[in-house]
Point group: C2
Chain length 199, copies 2
């Protein structure tokens, strides 16, 4: 006997990642009972975002303009392109303040189990972006997960024959990390990729 409008709201909330029927019900009740103002803002924000938010034609991240601010900035180094999986990863890279080049956001990763292959990921668009004549190095900053690694391998195989320099962010012991708490795979890799110490 839940009113149909409430029923539809509960159902609709389930499209959010990680939200099951119980949470959706709790959220719907909360919105209707405790936060109608927030609910109004939420409803309007979703519909507005759907209308306004598109993808940057150059880097594929979310943008409200055809070319996002970062891609349009004359201050960024046009010769380096950093490939990341998500906009969040791009933000993480930016927070390092150690990178001045441009980005390409895959908006996903190759993941055969989820039916995402090179085509679904739109790697042709990345290819076209890289071949603009300015890019000299592509830095692969996909995650060090199986899918991220597979994606990096695929992109490497795709770009190498075109004469583009392809690099991968380093893997190793985290800064501030103690060996005791680093997993053995990371440690083994850090050992294999050891570097000569400066004198």
């Amino acid at each position: 006997m839940t009113p149909t409008g409430l029923e539809s709201l509960i159902e609709a909330l389930r499209c959010l990642p990680g939200i099951g029927p119980k949470s959706a019900q709790r959220m719907a009740y909360h919105l209707m009972q405790r936060d109608r103002k927030g609910a109004k803002r939420l409803g309007e924000a979703v519909l507005h975002a759907l209308d306004a938010v598109k993808h940057c034609l150059r880097c594929n991240t979310f943008s409200e303009t055809e070319i996002c601010e970062r891609c349009a900035s004359p201050k960024r180094d046009q010769s380096v392109l950093c490939v990341v999986e998500t906009p969040v990863d791009m933000n993480m890279m930016e927070q390092t303040l150690a990178y001045q080049g441009l980005y390409y956001v895959l908006m996903g990763r190759i993941s055969p189990l989820d039916g995402v292959g090179p085509r679904e990921l739109g790697l042709e668009q990345l290819m076209a972006r890289v071949m603009d004549g300015l890019v000299q190095e592509v830095i692969l900053a996909t995650n060090y997960t199986n899918e991220g690694e597979a994606t990096a391998h695929y992109i490497t195989a795709m770009l190498k024959p075109k004469g583009i320099g392809v690099t991968r962010i380093a893997r190793g012991v985290p800064v501030g990390g103690e060996l005791e708490y680093v997993d053995s795979g990371t440690l083994a890799q850090a050992l294999r990729e050891r570097k000569a110490c400066a004198a």
Copy 2:
């Protein structure tokens, strides 16, 4: 450099209970990237519910009509009124199939820490409902938490002088429960409230 529409959506999603900045961001990206149809449905459902969902004038639960279906039903026993904290609790009671009376939904509980006293809870409305001349027994089915107990005590003190029968749902070992796994407070209470066995 997150687009403003997306920023507003992330901010708006934070009004959902239990959703922090990271989850809100993940949800917003999910809606924009993977489920625009779901996002549209969500936005519309929220706005529609805001418009359509009100409170039943008699039992205070969510309803799209002035009087909800249950209160309007001639099949329900008008002489018993079960007081619960939330619509979910009402649904739980209904699922027992053991109750044929009507309900009153507090939409909360007395909780001084959250600034919810008898007035904020609208107990005058409950009082007015109980004094309709038909109700003979009020069953208090608020939770057996501190707040639920306080609420039950307050309502009892409020209704008793009016000559209304007030009862409280029983407390004890859950059906199917094993003593080994029941907390000692519950067990002590079950002992204190022991009943004579039928011959």
